[in-house]
Symmetry: C2
Subunit: 215 residues, 2 copies
């Protein structure tokens, strides 16, 4: 449901407010940019995140300035952007970008206990599906050193641009090439840790990594 | 030169403040996330940008809320993040990400006249090198409908993580695979506009697109 603060105003046909569109973008993105204010100055910091049902989780060191600021309940904006392509028009003016983004406004709360472990699992699985069960889980001390925050998706909106360029009528007669150059995030060959015993098999979470996830 | 607001405090060995490191990250990134405050609420919005010498430019519609807010001289934070890979450790706790990011704090000013056209050229060339000269340049009305802002790089810092995971000493004996999965942004096959005459050649700006740029 759009609020006055999340309504896409200038190009309203690019705005989406349904749960499915928002969830799909959040699930495909890898890094969010979290914005908060300290001493009147906005800060925008990239960090991993994950969605579970109607909230997103972020985590970090318990001594991180960003995490501690957000844990204080200040207003936050979390934005996730997926770049899908360059939109190359016949005029410089009509160049654009195909992208999908989600903006979430709200205040975060600290997650504790069993939900904290589940939230960390959710983040690990968001980054690389299957990874949580392939590795050593967090110790009590590691949990203590980690702050996990939850932000509800109550006030969220998506903005999506797809399709070819939209040129001025008279520009279609120009001889310039126009179209879309698709862009995507792809994985290269896994680079084993230098201290890994030779012959250690690359696990499914790494071997099968792709965005968007299969299925 | 780091200021108290841009000094990387928690993991100081990841902080860089030299002009070359900051410029290289800004020149490779494609989209920035601009943060500003309106009615006490931070907003984080993705947008194209480009660096020229010791400033970055952003542009947009002259009626965009973000652009008009920033043009008013409010504090802004512009963050550029390049994701280089997933850092997969033997423990969930030591998972991380290889990335390069730049955070710029300051206030933006409106760019007019000849610098405005040059700034638009800089942005076009940043997105796709060579594109400016392949297409129709902006008309007087298009220039009027566009707002261009300049943000100095006076208060900027970079944060960079590279290399393999750093596991706990005792975890190196675990059998779990560990290493880095490199990630990068790649271009697919150009998709011609449906209204493009058959046989229109794909131009160098599109054919040769890559990040980071060659040379």
């Amino acid at each position: 449901m759009p609020t006055p603060r999340t309504t896409v105003r200038r190009l309203p046909n690019r705005g989406f407010y349904d749960r499915e569109t928002i969830a799909a973008i959040l699930d495909e993105g890898l890094v969010c940019h979290a914005g908060f204010v300290a001493d009147g100055q906005p800060f925008v910091i990239p960090t991993l995140y994950a969605r579970r049902e109607d909230r997103i989780y972020v985590h970090g060191s318990a001594v991180s300035r960003m995490l501690r600021t957000l844990a204080g309940g200040v207003p936050v904006c979390v934005t996730v952007t997926i770049v899908d392509g360059l939109v190359l028009a016949r005029s410089a003016f009509n160049h654009s970008m195909n992208y999908r983004s989600v903006v979430v406004l709200g205040t975060a709360t600290v997650v504790e206990g069993e939900e904290k472990v589940r939230a960390l699992e959710t983040i690990a699985e968001h980054v690389a599906a299957g990874r949580w069960r392939e590795v050593r889980g967090p110790s009590a001390n590691e949990l203590k050193a980690t702050l996990v925050l939850s932000l509800p998706l109550d006030e969220a909106s998506a903005k999506v641009r797809t399709g070819p360029p939209e040129d001025e009528d008279e520009d279609y007669a120009l001889p310039h090439w126009a179209g879309v150059l698709p862009l995507s995030m792809v994985a290269g060959s896994p680079m084993p840790d230098p201290r890994l015993p030779a012959g250690t098999a690359v696990p499914p979470s790494v071997r099968g990594w792709r965005r968007p996830r299969a299925g």
